[in-house]
């Protein structure tokens, strides 16, 4: 069994393997979207390497964090747009 990490995504408790990126946790949580574009369209990770900025979420109160580049930490609080 890999070591597991527990965090919150949109208020739901999610468990992921240590080393998982926040984007994986958001996917596991089944969030409707990662963010909304300026014109209101839903957005999801595209490049997976920190270039496209489509996967931005709010982490521990800090908006515009690229979820595909940030490993999950214990009891991180992640919020997506809805």
């Amino acid at each position: 069994m890999p070591e597991m990490i527990t965090l919150k995504v949109n208020g739901e408790i999610v468990e992921v393997a240590k080393g998982s990126m926040v984007s994986s946790a958001v996917a596991v949580a089944g969030a409707k979207m990662f963010r909304r574009s300026v014109s209101g369209e839903p957005r999801y990770p595209l490049c997976g390497m920190g270039i496209c900025f489509e996967c931005r979420v709010t982490i521990d109160g800090q908006p515009h964090c690229r979820s595909c580049q940030i490993p999950c930490r214990q009891w991180m609080v992640v919020v997506t747009d809805d």
Binding site: V38, Q62, P63, H64
Partner: protein, 376 residues
């Protein structure tokens, strides 16, 4: 080669040229505007768009106050994309010495009919929670505002066009005389009066002008709505912006209608290179973080530079060239061109049309003695 004739040819479609065009065309004159680049593509696009009443000198106060009143009037008709917003300025005092300056400014503005309010440390924290703790206070000037200058310039030119003005965009001028402007394509736009409103490029068209390029950097962040509520400027800004010789930086942050933040500012003389100077950019951001430590957590999306058109006494040149007949100047607005564009247009037009000006024109006449003004 062809030739066309106008009452006025204005070189430069920045905010100053645009405002002059609108004012002169509205007065019934035949106006041509010639621009080498794009509308509002120079300092107009590079700057913050802070419409601010200043107290550096009585003449600067008179022109900025007059202009701000004109902006408030214009705001009623400005389109949405001009993003005119009366967010007010907070002049932030870091210590007791600067707090004394808050009270001096309060007296200066208050006695001249500008609404102001002194904020103590607690009130400042309440007004701007993302500023660091321990700042002494601030002076709030509620009627100061911000705009997105290129769109305001475009609007003013549309106004000019609606009164018959002709635009020649993307047309570099190779020679400007009192008789008109010769374009690089060989055409000549002849006019009874020529106006050099080419900002930091104005000395290239009219050699001998006492206007120097003063480079600045700005950063724009991603969208963080509500992070900053007023235009924030450190009072130490007065010290750094006044330093005429050396490179300087100051904490100067502006909330945009999009929720983005503009972070400035820097001032450098003697630099022609448009590239980002990472050393001064670092100093500028470090300075901003001294006032707003969590700024370092925000993400910046773009950095750019621009050139202010600076004069030795920090006042613009508005009026006839002292030697060249029928050549007028509307340049040298340094970092206040957005604010003072509307007042400049009035004062220039008053001189051309022989109307009585609302404020005295003498301090801005190009023929004046260019000593550095004594600080108020």
């Amino acid at each position: 080669m062809s030739s066309s004739s106008y009452d006025i040819v204005i070189v430069g479609a920045g905010i100053v040229g645009a405002a002059c065009a609108a004012e002169l065309a509205r007065a019934g004159l035949g106006v041509a505007v010639v621009e080498a680049g794009s509308i509002g593509g120079g300092a107009t696009a590079a700057g913050m768009g802070h419409i601010v009443v200043m107290d550096d000198s009585e003449a600067q106060f008179a022109l900025t106050k007059y202009s701000q009143d004109l902006w408030r009037e214009l705001a009623r008709e400005l389109p949405h994309d001009s993003e005119y917003e009366e967010c007010g300025t907070l002049w932030v005092a870091a210590d007791d010495e600067e707090m004394a300056e808050v009270h001096r400014k309060k007296e200066f503005y208050g006695s001249r009919g500008v609404r102001v309010e002194a904020l103590d440390e607690k009130a400042l924290r309440g007004a701007e929670p993302n500023l660091r703790e321990g700042l002494a206070g601030a002076l709030l000037v509620p009627a100061d505002s911000v705009t997105y200058p290129p769109c305001s310039a475009r609007y003013l030119l549309e106004q000019a066009q609606s009164f018959g003005a002709q635009l020649f965009i993307g047309k570099p001028v190779v020679e400007l005389t009192g008789n008109g402007a010769k374009l690089s394509d060989g055409n000549f736009i002849s006019a009874g009066i020529s106006v050099n409103a080419a900002g930091s490029w104005s000395p290239e068209l009219t050699p001998g002008l006492n206007v120097q390029k003063r480079k600045g950097h700005l950063v724009i962040t991603d969208r963080y709505p509500g992070y900053v509520r007023h235009q924030l400027v450190e009072l130490g800004y007065l010290k750094s912006a006044h330093s005429i010789s050396s490179d300087s930086v100051a904490f100067n942050v502006q909330p945009r209608a999009t929720g983005q933040l503009l972070i400035g500012s820097s001032r450098q003389y003697g630099v022609e290179d448009k590239g980002v100077d990472h050393h001064i950019l670092r100093r500028m951001i470090d300075r901003a973080c001294e006032y707003m430590p969590r700024l370092s957590k925000l993400s910046a999306v773009r950095v750019w530079t621009g050139f202010r058109a600076a004069t030795p006494d920090k006042l613009p040149l508005i009026g006839p060239h002292p030697e060249i007949k029928n050549l007028f100047l509307a340049t040298g607005h340094e970092g206040l061109g957005i604010t003072t564009s509307l007042g400049t247009a009035k004062l220039l037009s008053d001189q051309i049309l022989k109307r009585a000006p609302v404020i005295p024109v003498e301090p801005y006449l190009p023929g004046r003695d260019h000593q550095e003004a004594a600080h108020a």
